[in-house]
Symmetry: C2
Subunit: 366 residues, 2 copies
Amino acid sequence: MNKKEAIDYCINLANSANENEIRPNPFVGAVIIDEADQVIGEGYHQKLGGPHAEVLAIKQALKKITDLSQCSLYVSLEPCSHFGKTPPCADLIIQHKIKKVVIASLDPNPKVASVEKLMAAGIEVEVMNEPSAITLNRRFFTNQLKNRPHFILKLASTIDGKIADCAKNSQWISNAASRQYVHDHLRANVDAILTSYKTVIQDQASLTIRNTTGGIQETNVVIIDKNLELLQTQYEGLPIFYPRTASKIILITAQAPSIQLPENMECITGTFNEQGLVFSSIAAKLLELGYYKILTEAGSQLNSSMIQQNIADELYWFIAPKILNDQEGISMFGIDKLNSLDNAYHLELANMQRLQNDILLHYYFK
Amino acid sequence: MNKKEAIDYCINLANSANENEIRPNPFVGAVIIDEADQVIGEGYHQKLGGPHAEVLAIKQALKKITDLSQCSLYVSLEPCSHFGKTPPCADLIIQHKIKKVVIASLDPNPKVASVEKLMAAGIEVEVMNEPSAITLNRRFFTNQLKNRPHFILKLASTIDGKIADCAKNSQWISNAASRQYVHDHLRANVDAILTSYKTVIQDQASLTIRNTTGGIQETNVVIIDKNLELLQTQYEGLPIFYPRTASKIILITAQAPSIQLPENMECITGTFNEQGLVFSSIAAKLLELGYYKILTEAGSQLNSSMIQQNIADELYWFIAPKILNDQEGISMFGIDKLNSLDNAYHLELANMQRLQNDILLHYYFK
C-alpha cells in the first residue's frame, strides 16, 4: 500500500462516521501499517466524547503485535496533543514508539501541535496537504479558522434562476424527489436552519424534517427578524411555532426584547445596516451556542447578502426543468451593486446528480 | 431477439449516421430477422441521395437467402412509399413478400403512407410509438410537422443566470472545454447559426468553427437586422464579414434593401412587432433555403423572444461556477410580461455532463 492509498483508506474510514454523532469534532480515520506493509489496525472517530481514530487503530494493532516500533501510522488529520474529552493521541503514539506518522492535513486549532511534539520524541513525521482530507472536514475547518458556523445555502430555481414567480409563489418549483432530498440529506444533517422572518411568513414554513415514512422531526431555526415582527400576536399561529420539545427558535434582532420570550425561544442581538444583518456581529455567538453547521433556506435578499459578506461556504442548487421568462420573477441572487465578470464569486463544483427531471449541483465557495 | 431489442438495434444502427451527411433526411435503421430469429440483414441511412436503411438490410439478407417471405423487417421509421431521390422502399418490401413489418415511429410526411400500402399487399404491419425513435428524429419531426427549422438555443451563464455582466462583457463566462464543445458538437452540426446584429457587433463575433487543431471552418449565419444596420460602412470591418467561399450571411430585415448586396449575402424580409421578429413570418422561408437545423447564439432579447413564440426546440446550457450577484447583470431570459409558476415553460432533461468545473445541461422544450 503506497502513501496515497493509505491516506485514501483513512479518508474512507473517516467518512464512515455519521457527522451528527461527532460534530463539532472533525472526521478522522487512521491505520497502522506494519513492516510487511500490512494493515494491522484501523479506526475512525465515531462519537463525540468517544475514542479517537488513532486510539482505535493502535488498540487493534496491539491485539496482533505488542511492539509497534517498526510500524507507521497514517491519519487523515493531525493527531491531538492536548487534553480534551480524551487524553492526547500524540502521547499514545510516543508511548508506543511508532516509527513514522503520516498526516494528511494539519489541524488549524493552535492548541493542536503534535507535529512538533512527535518530532521532538524522535518520530519521523510527514505532513501532506491532501485536498480530499481538507474537503472531508470543510465544516470543521470553517469553525476553527473563521470562528463561525459553516453555512450551506440551499436553493431551488427554474432554469432562468427564479426562486419564485412575480406573485412570490414558489410552491413548488422543484419536484418531490428534490424536496425529499432536502429533508433527508440537508435538514437532517445540520444544527439549525437559517431563514428570515419574511420567508417564515411568506412560505408558512415549519422547517421540520419530514421522513419518507411521513414522520416529522424538529429542527432548530435561526430567524433574522430585526424588529421582532414574529412576536406580533397576528403571527402566533404560524407553522414555525409548532410545540417544540427538543428544538429552539433563535431570533436575530437589533435590540433585545423587553418582554419575556416564550419557552424554546432565544434572542441574539446583532448589528444591522442598510443591507440587513452584518453576519460578523453574530457569527461567533452562533458557534458558541452550538450551531456549527447551518443550512440557509431563505429568499433572494438573504442569499445575496450572505454571498456578498463571503459567509456562504457551500451551495446546494436544485434546478427544475422550467423557464419563467419573466423579468419580474424573483431571482436567486442579485443586489443593487454593480459587479464585473472579473470580480465574480468563484465556486468549485463538488458534485452533480439527477433527481428525475431536476438537477442538483453541489458547489463549494472558494 | 424480442421486439424491443430489435427496435433498439435499429435505433443504434440509425444513430451511426453523421447527420450532416443525411440532413434533411431522418436517421433510419432497419434489420431483417429470419424464422430462426437471426439477424440476416441490417442497414442504416448513411448519405443524402444514397440507399435507404431498408434497401441495405434487404440487399444484405438476399445474399444469405433468396426467399424473404418468412422474415420480418424492423425499422425505426415508417418506410417511404413515394419516389423521392430513390424508389419507394414499400414497393421493395412488397416485391420480396416480407411477412411482417414493425415500424417504431410513423413518418409525419403525408406523402408517406406505406402502412396502408403494405397492409393492402397482405403484409402484417405493426406500428409502435417508441419514444426513443421519436427522440432520434426530433429535428426531422420539427421540419415535417412545423414546416420550419429546428431551433437549438445555446447559452453560457453564471450560476445566477447571467450571460454577461452589467458592462455587457461575456468573455469568457464558460471555460475553454465548454467553448470547444460548442465548436465541435453544436456549430459543426447545424446548417446555420442565428443571432442578432447587436450580438454580432457587441461580441465582435465571427461565428466560425474552430477545430481543436486550430483550423477554421466557415458557417452560414442568419442575422436578425431589421434596419440593415450591418450594411453601414462603419461595420465593414466586423469579423463576421470574413471572406467566405462556402457559406452565406442571411439578413432578416423588415424591408428588402435598395442596394445590391455583396456576394454571399442574402436578405429575407420578415414581419417585426414591438417585441422584435415574428418568427412565423420567416420560418418556412428558412427551411426552403435549406436551413433545417439552426443554432441560436444570441442575447437575452432574442433567446426570450424565441421561447415566448414557442419556436425554441432544444437548449444547451453551460453553467460556469461563478456568481455575479448583481441585479444589473444581463439575464439569460426574461421579458416584460408577467408569468406565473403554473404557466412556466416546461422542458425535458435529455442529458447532463461535466466539462471540468462547468456543467452542460441539454434539454428539449416540451
